[in-house]
Amino acid sequence: MSSDQLTRRGLLQGSAVLAAAAPTLSAAAPTPKTSGANAMMPVELTVNGREVHLQLDPRTSLLDALREHLHLTGTKKGCDHGQCGACTVIVEGRRINSCLTLAVMHDGEKVTTIEGLGTSDHLHAMQKAFIVHDGYQCGYCTPGQICSAVSVLEEIEAGIPSHVTADLDDVAISDAELRERMSGNICRCAAYPNIIAAMRDVAGEAKA
């Protein structure tokens, strides 16, 4: 959206609507978690094992909360529309696009980012494997790739089928399975073959 479409009048009108909506709301829906007009909302997250308390505009995506408010810049903003996967993080044990969800929707939940998987001194097995197999070039998509890759192995372990699974009840690792499951993570340097090699390595099935 270009900035010339953002007018002072439009913003003021928006605020007026919100102000009018708020009293109706408190009458109609006495729910514990309701924001007022233009109000910041408290959000508690456990990020990489650490409890954090934030005051956020409800519009704040989980991605922006991580990057701009918690300064965890390992998670990357690529397209900001769920098409590239650079923003992939693990929430309550599942990989999601952090750009397509609001931080306030995850109040009370556990989030793991690339910073929580490993550190420079203690790399996660998948981080090590990406280095060994050269699973990146520019590195921008890598944090998302690694968060996704870790989750993919868990999803296969849990028996969750994919589009290329021939028998829905028999889920096993193969290159085709890994490629299909990683399709939500785009790598414009096309490190794909090396990413698959890294994943197979971690899964204990490295090809000779």
Binding site: A21, P32, T34, R59, G82, T88, S183
Partner: protein, 318 residues
């Protein structure tokens, strides 16, 4: 994104009541489509009602042997559910053919039914679009319409319905269970849930203001061989140009539903009736009344070829 107020709903009736009483309110579940559209200011809700904590995340047997799927069951969980894999494999297959792993972890059953079109003119706010802004015109008719619908279209709109899941739901004769703002529950057959564009393409479903989807119910299993074949521009993570959901019986009868070609998930009894005559006859019946553009006329042949491929695959296995 325009400013909005936010509340986390704690029970279904209160959520429906709130949505009915606040103008500009929308439910948010997975948010994977809604937030995308809010960033582009195609959707501009003034209030979001977060329904993720309503407990509508269970899959249960119904008394008559069917399956009741909570509106908040995530695509991943529905596709992986044991009963769905065994008895409604076409639904698992359709779900797994859609989106990416990350999106399926978030996207919900109810939300998928409300997924909006991927017509590029709907997405481009500089272009006219009768669906986005009633009466503004249609940029697609004379524009790039390769991905768009050829069945159920009107002079006002040729947008395609993007869902894979809904095609399988249509094939399986699902019903959509809802609760309205005044607390009344009703069941809408999936065939009646999505509306054809006609003169009012901005009206997409039979839902009334404030009405919330609580579950989707499948009738008891129908047996047969379940297949979902999706043809798209890349092998994964792309919307369908054409998709076919089918259940074949041993005696050669079958039922078919189609994605990528309709203004809504497409099914016609005449296609099912032609099953024993083969792919060409099924395609001809399914495509009756098709209205194509120069760009998407290829879809007719693609439907026939996709069906031919399914029939050959079936013969090879027999």
């Amino acid at each position: 994104m325009r400013p909005f107020t936010y509340e986390r709903a704690t029970d279904v009736a209160a959520a429906a009541r709130a949505a009915g009483s606040v103008q500009g309110a929308r439910f948010i579940a997975g948010g994977t489509n809604l937030l995308d559209l809010m960033k582009l200011q195609i959707e501009t809700p003034t209030h979001l009602i977060d329904v993720n904590h309503l407990g509508l995340d269970r899959i249960e047997r119904t008394d008559d042997g069917g399956l009741r799927i909570g509106a908040l069951v995530r695509n991943t969980d529905l596709a992986a559910d044991k009963a769905v894999r065994r008895d409604y494999a076409v639904l698992s297959r359709a779900l797994l053919a859609g989106a990416s792993g990350q999106l399926r972890n978030k996207a919900t059953t109810g939300g998928n039914l409300l997924q909006r079109t991927r017509c590029p003119y709907f997405y481009d706010t500089r272009m006219p679009c009768n669906k986005r802004k009633a009466g503004s015109g249609c940029g697609a008719m004379q524009g790039m319409s390769r991905s768009l619908a050829i069945l159920g279209v009107s002079d006002a709109c040729i947008a395609q319905h993007p869902s894979d899941m809904a095609v399988a739901m249509r094939l399986l004769d699902a019903q959509v269970d809802t609760m309205s703002a005044d607390g009344v529950a009703r069941a809408i057959p999936i065939a009646d849930f999505h509306l054809l564009p006609g003169d009012t393409p901005h009206k997409e479903t039979a839902l009334k203001a404030g009405e919330i989807i609580t579950s989707v119910t499948l009738p008891k299993p129908i047996g047969g061989t379940h297949v979902y074949r999706k043809v798209r521009d890349r092998a994964s993570y792309a919307f369908a140009l054409v998709s076919v959901a089918a259940v074949f019986d041993k005696d050669g009868s079958a039922r078919f539903a189609f994605g990528g070609i309709g203004a809504k998930p497409w099914r016609t009894p005449t296609a099912d009736a032609a099953a024993k005559q083969g792919a060409k006859a099924v395609a001809e019946a399914a495509l009756s009344g098709a209205r194509t553009t120069h760009h998407n006329d290829f879809k007719k042949l693609l439907v026939e070829r996709t069906l031919t491929s399914l029939y050959r695959q079936r013969e090879a296995r027999a």
